[in-house]
C-alpha cells in the first residue's frame, strides 16, 4: 500500500474497532487507537512477513502486542487480512466468540497471550534468541505500552536482549503518556525514556506515532540493520486518537463513549 492507502486503512480500523467495542459494550479503545498507525505500517506497509491462510508459517515474522488489552484495532486488522472471519468481530467479548478482551494465542495471528503487562518483551526476546540459535532470519516485533515500562520485568528483558545482541528484535513503545488512571509522569516518572533505553544498550529512534511516513521511514532497512543491538522506536502518540472525547483523556483507557458521545465519535472517525 502507498502512504495514502495506509492512512485510509488506519481510518477504517479505527471506525471498525469503535463499532466493535460499542457493540460489545466494552473495550480498551484509548490504547487501541493510539497504536493504530504502528499496526497499519507493520501489517499493510510490507514490513511483516505473514500468511493469513497459514498463521503458523515457519518463516513468518513474529509480532507480539505486549499491551494485550489494546487488541481492538489488532483484531479488526487480523479479520480484515483474513486470519479469521469478520463475523467474529460482532461477537467480540461475547458468549461463544473467539475474541476476548485481551490477546489470546488461540486466535489465529496472535503469537502470545498477553494482557498482564511486562511479559511481552521477555517472550519476544526468547523468540528472537531462538531465531539466532536456529539461524533463521525472521524478525520479532512487539508493541509495548509506555506505562508498561514501569514494570521491572520490562527492564529485565531489555538487559537480556542487549546482552544477547538481539538485533532481530524491534519494538515500539506506544508513548501515549497515559496509564490506566493517570499520566505516567504523575505516577512513576518515565522520562527521560529514550535515554533509559540507550542506557540499556538499545538503538533508539523517536517518531510521531500517528505519522505512517515517519514510522515507515524508521523501519527502512530494518531487515538488514548493521547494528548488533535491538531497536526501540518510541512512538509519540495520543491515547484515544481519532475520538475527540477520548483523546489524551485518562478515562479513555476502558471507558467508552455513551449516549450522544457515540454519534459525535462516529463523526470524528468518518
Amino acid at each position: 500500500m502507498d502512504l495514502s492507502e495506509l492512512k485510509e486503512k488506519a481510518k477504517y480500523l479505527r471506525r471498525e474497532a469503535f463499532e466493535m467495542a460499542i457493540n460489545a459494550g466494552k473495550g480498551h479503545l484509548g490504547g487501541s487507537l493510539s497504536c493504530t498507525e504502528i499496526l497499519v505500517s507493520l501489517y499493510y506497509g510490507n514490513i511483516l512477513k505473514f500468511d493469513p491462510k497459514n498463521p503458523k508459517w515457519e518463516k513468518r515474522d513474529r509480532f507480539i502486542l505486549s499491551k494485550g488489552h489494546a487488541n481492538n484495532t489488532l483484531y479488526v486488522l487480523l479479520a480484515d487480512l483474513g486470519f479469521f472471519p469478520k463475523s467474529e468481530l460482532s461477537k467480540f467479548a461475547k458468549d461463544g466468540g473467539i475474541l476476548g478482551g485481551h490477546c489470546d494465542n488461540r486466535v489465529p495471528g496472535v503469537e502470545a497471550t498477553t494482557g498482564s503487562l511486562g511479559h511481552g518483551l521477555g517472550i519476544a526476546s526468547g523468540m528472537a534468541l531462538a531465531a539466532k540459535l536456529d539461524s533463521k532470519d525472521y524478525v520479532v516485533f512487539a508493541i509495548l505500552g509506555d506505562a508498561e515500562c514501569q514494570e521491572g520485568s520490562t527492564w529485565e528483558a531489555a538487559m537480556f536482549a542487549n546482552h544477547h545482541n538481539l538485533n532481530n528484535l524491534i519494538i515500539f513503545v506506544d508513548r501515549n503518556r497515559l496509564g490506566s488512571e493517570d499520566f505516567t509522569e504523575n505516577t512513576s516518572q518515565l522520562e527521560p525514556l529514550e535515554e533509559k533505553w540507550k542506557a540499556f544498550g538499545w538503538d533508539t529512534k523517536v517518531v510521531n506515532g500517528h505519522s505512517v511516513e515517519e514510522i515507515m521511514s524508521a523501519l527502512k532497512d530494518y531487515r538488514t540493520r548493521k547494528s548488533v543491538k535491538p531497536l526501540v522506536i518510541i512512538a509519540n502518540t495520543i491515547k484515544g486518537k481519532g475520538i475527540k472525547s477520548l483523546e489524551d483523556n485518562p478515562k479513555s483507557h476502558h471507558t467508552l463513549p455513551r449516549g450522544e458521545e457515540i454519534d459525535i465519535a462516529k463523526k470524528d472517525l468518518a
Binding site: N105, E111, A112, T113, T114, G115, S116, G118, H119, G120, L121, G122, I123, A124, S125, G126, M127, A128, L129, A130, A131, L133, D134, G152, S153, E156, A157, M159, F160, H163
Partner: protein
Amino acid sequence: MKIYNDTRDAIFGELYEIAIKDPNVILLSADTGAFVFKEFKKNLPKQFFNVGVSEQNTMSVAAGLALSGKRVFVFGLANFVTLRCYEQIKIDICCMELPVTILGSGMGYLYSSDGPTHHMTDNVSLMRVLPGMTVWCPSDYTMAASMVHLAYQKNGPGCILFDKGPFSHIYDQSSHDFSDGLFLLKPGKDMVVITNGIMTNYGLNLIDELNKNGIDAALVDLYRLKPINKKLLFETVRHFKRVVTVEESTILGGLGSAVQEALNESGLSIPVKSFGVPDVFRREVGSREMLRCLDGLDIPTLSKEILKWI
C-alpha cells in the same frame, strides 16, 4: 541410567544426556549453579544460558523459546523460580501450554537458618493450583533422574521441586516405572502414611517408630502431586481404616489437601489427618530439625499425635 548420590548430579546429568540427543532442549539458569553446568557450557553452549538474577524474564524468555520450538528447563532456587515469577508461569507457560519444566531446588526447611526468604514451604501448593502443571517431588536420586525424562516426555508445563537430601537409596532399581505417580513403599495393616520428597525418607523412620508402639503402618510415596493418580491412590488406600499425610510444607493446599480432595471425590470415607507447616512465618533461627520441632513435625511428636488419634 547411572546410580547417583547427589540430586543436582542426577537431574542435570540426565538432562545433559537428553540435551546431547535433542538440540532443541535448552537449559536456563536464573544464576544458580550445578556441577554439570560445566559440561553444558563446554559442549552445548547453544543450549545453556545463565539469564542472571531475573526470574520473571527467565520465564518469559523460556516461553518465547518454547513458542519457537524449544523444550526448555529453567533452574533456580525453588522460591525464586516459582514465587517471583508466578504470573509468568501462570500466563506465559501454563496458559499457553508450553513445554517448560521448572527445576526448583529446595523444599521445606532445607535452608532453615537462612530465614523465611529461603523457606520453601508454599511452592508445592502454589504450583499445584496452576492448570496444566505437573508437579513432581522426588524422594531419592534415582527418582529425581527419572523425573527429568518424564518431564521431557510430557512436553508441557512441569515442575520438579527437589530436595538436596541426603536421601536413602529407596529406588535404586533404575527399571522402576515412575509414571504411576505413587508407590506403596511398605505394606501395613493398621493405617497408611502418605508422604513425598525428603519426607518419604522421614516417613520410613516414622513408621518404624509407630511399629515400636504396636502400629503396623504402611507408607505410600505420592511423588507426583499433580495430576494425582486417583485410581491407584484409591486402590492403594481403600483397605486402610486411617490415612495420615505428612509434609514439610504449608498445610494449606499441598499434599494433605491433594489426598483429601482425591479421597473425597472418590467417595471413600476414611478419616484423614494431615500434618504440615502451620499458617505462620518461621522467623526463629535454627536447624531444619529445630524448625520441624516447632511445627510438630519431629518424629516423637508425630508419633505421639498419631497414636493419640487412633
